[in-house]
């Protein structure tokens, strides 16, 4: 664990020494805020409902998480520090986990910093604190899965730009795939499968204030799966 934290600390330091971390946090607050107040017209609707605010978060994260994770491995390759990391006494698992933690911490900070929005809105009506907590739990879980996917793609990519583009595309697909099911009028097993794959579909119950263990399990297992894939790729490289 000490090693994992050493890696994560280094990553976070680097991110805050460059504009990346600030840009991502600011971008997240701006986009979600603009969406709520201008596009959905929060004040105009006259309803004290923040579900719209949380529903848009996975989509915004699909753009901002790749901005965080694209550097992760691709940048190490460019600087040659990849070789340094892999010759320091870290296991592959520690490396992957350390990098995941740092990106997740910055994404998490961006999400947590939106708390003033519902707090301000709470003056306008009665909000259920329990629902709010669930909504935040959902976004954080969704962000964790998205970061794991982004980290994995970065570990495969040759450079930052391709890591960014591929991650955005992958996350958009994962967020929007349940809409495809509806669009195609898919039924039965096909629809169930498309829905099951979707990052947004599993988020739905959280945004309504319901913690469904199936959705919880989906996010956790997606995170673990992609972290495992990254570590496996790193280990396999040694023999190539």
């Amino acid at each position: 664990m000490k090693n994992v934290l050493a890696i994560a600390r280094r990553e976070i330091r680097s991110s805050f020494n460059s504009p990346v971390a600030y840009a991502v946090i600011l971008g997240y607050l701006l986009f979600t805020g603009i969406y709520l107040y201008f596009i959905r017209g929060f004040y105009a609707v006259g309803q004290a409902d923040l579900r719209e605010y949380f529903i848009i978060m996975p989509l915004v994260l699909a753009f901002l998480v790749p901005a965080l994770t694209m550097r992760s491995w691709a940048e190490e390759r460019r600087l040659g520090t990849y070789e340094l990391l892999l010759t320091l006494p870290f296991t592959e698992g520690q490396l992957v986990l350390g990098k995941f933690l740092s990106s997740f911490a910055i994404a998490g900070a961006a999400i947590v910093l939106t708390i003033p929005v519902p707090l301000a809105a709470s003056a306008l009506g009665s909000f259920d604190a329990g629902i709010l907590v669930t909504q935040y739990l959902g976004v954080l879980l969704e962000a964790a899965a998205a970061v794991a996917v982004g980290e994995w793609i970065s570990s495969l990519a040759k450079n930052q730009v391709s890591a960014f583009v591929a991650s955005v595309l992958a996350l958009l697909c994962l967020v929007l795939v349940d809409r495809v099911a509806g669009f195609l009028g898919a039924k039965g097993l096909a629809a169930a499968l498309l829905n099951w794959l979707s990052l947004a579909f599993h988020y739905d119950s959280f945004s309504r204030g319901v913690v469904d263990t199936r959705d919880l399990a989906y996010y956790l297992s997606a995170s673990v799966l992609f972290l495992y894939l990254s570590a496996w790729g790193l280990t396999r490289r040694k023999w190539s």
Binding site: I7, G80, E83, T87, L88, P89, F90, K238, W239, S240
Partner: protein, 322 residues
């Protein structure tokens, strides 16, 4: 101590190292010499646990790199050829991370960082960002990183590239003193570097050991020759009719690489002589005697060292069956 037994390594079907074996003892500096693509870097990557061998064994400090990579990595300090640094950290932050990664606690880390920046001359840039550093400072920071945890094994891939002559001397001194108590392996293109700091040399060519031994012996192993640069001043009357052919009077002369008359009485030449034979007279002595007996004064007599390139041309052309 480092031991390599019949190491082979292929990347995607292409074999970069074809069965290399050697031993490097504690308290020695081993130089790996070779042209690009000879397998120096590949061997270093195996020794640091970055790559695993395709076959054969690599044992570092008694530990097999494949069986115990983490323990090997914690005993090794490694400076890769690319000098890996995080551009957006300061020198202080970078070394702090390395100390953290090496599991040094806070006071131990502070001591290690202080010792390391002192040894590598980094005091002046301690608070600077890595991206602002010059090539020489980056190289030194890379070295500071490698020696931070005072490892028993040091593996340095071209440690002096990008340094100015003064820095090169400092860093060579540092490596030499580290080699007194540690096992040091370094790679280089520069023959003088090997002569200055290495107790043993291995010349690699196309993934095989082409020659090995102490730096002074390696020349003999190459069946080399001595190149001598010569400036002669003719005494009265002896300049008449003196030309390239007249040099063949030097006992044992192999060939004349160049010859020119600088003025009526001063001649410059570059000649090649057989390799020094301890039983016979020194080459310089032979030439001096010849010059004196033919009525010349020796203005300059310089033994030209074979450059690494020339050695490789020789090694590889010998390999072609000549």
């Amino acid at each position: 101590m480092i031991e390599l037994r019949e190491l082979r390594k292929s990347y995607g079907g292409v074999e970069a190292v074809h069965g290399v074996s050697f031993t490097a003892e504690t308290g020695s500096v081993l130089g790996l010499l070779g042209p690009n693509g000879a397998g120096k870097t590949t061997i270093m990557k195996v020794l640091t646990g970055y790559h695993f061998p395709s076959s054969g064994k690599a044992v570092v400090d008694g530990l097999d790199v494949e069986e115990d990579p983490i323990a090997v990595k914690s005993r090794v300090g490694y400076l890769p050829e690319s000098v890996p640094l995080y551009q957006d950290l300061t020198v202080a932050e970078y070394l702090d991370f390395i100390g953290d990664a090496r599991s040094l606690d806070r006071p131990a880390r502070a001591r290690a960082v202080e010792r390391s920046i002192g040894a590598c001359g980094l005091e002046g840039v301690y608070r600077k960002k890595v991206e602002e550093l010059s090539k020489g400072y980056r190289q030194r920071l890379g070295l500071a990183q490698a020696i931070l945890h005072d490892p028993p094994i040091l593996i340095l891939d071209e440690p002096t590239t990008g340094l100015d002559p003064n820095q090169i001397i400092e860093i060579r001194e540092l490596i030499k003193s580290l080699g007194e108590s540690k096992t040091v392996i370094l790679s280089t293109h520069i023959l003088q570097e090997v002569e200055a700091i290495c107790s043993n040399v291995i010349i690699l060519n196309e993934g095989r050991v082409a020659a090995q031994g102490a730096p002074s012996e390696i020349g003999k192993a190459l069946k080399g020759e001595e190149r001598i640069r010569l400036r002669l001043k003719a005494g009265r009357g002896t300049a008449e009719g003196f030309d390239r052919k007249s040099l063949s009077g030097i006992p044992g002369l192999r060939s004349v690489a160049s010859f020119q008359a600088e003025s009526g009485s001063v001649f410059a030449a570059e000649i090649s002589m057989p390799p020094a034979d301890p039983a016979a007279a020194e080459v310089g002595e032979t030439i001096f005697d010849w010059a004196a007996s033919s009525g010349f004064k020796v203005l300059e007599l310089e033994r030209r060292r074979l450059s690494l390139e020339e050695i490789f041309v020789k090694l590889t052309s010998e390999g072609d069956g000549r």
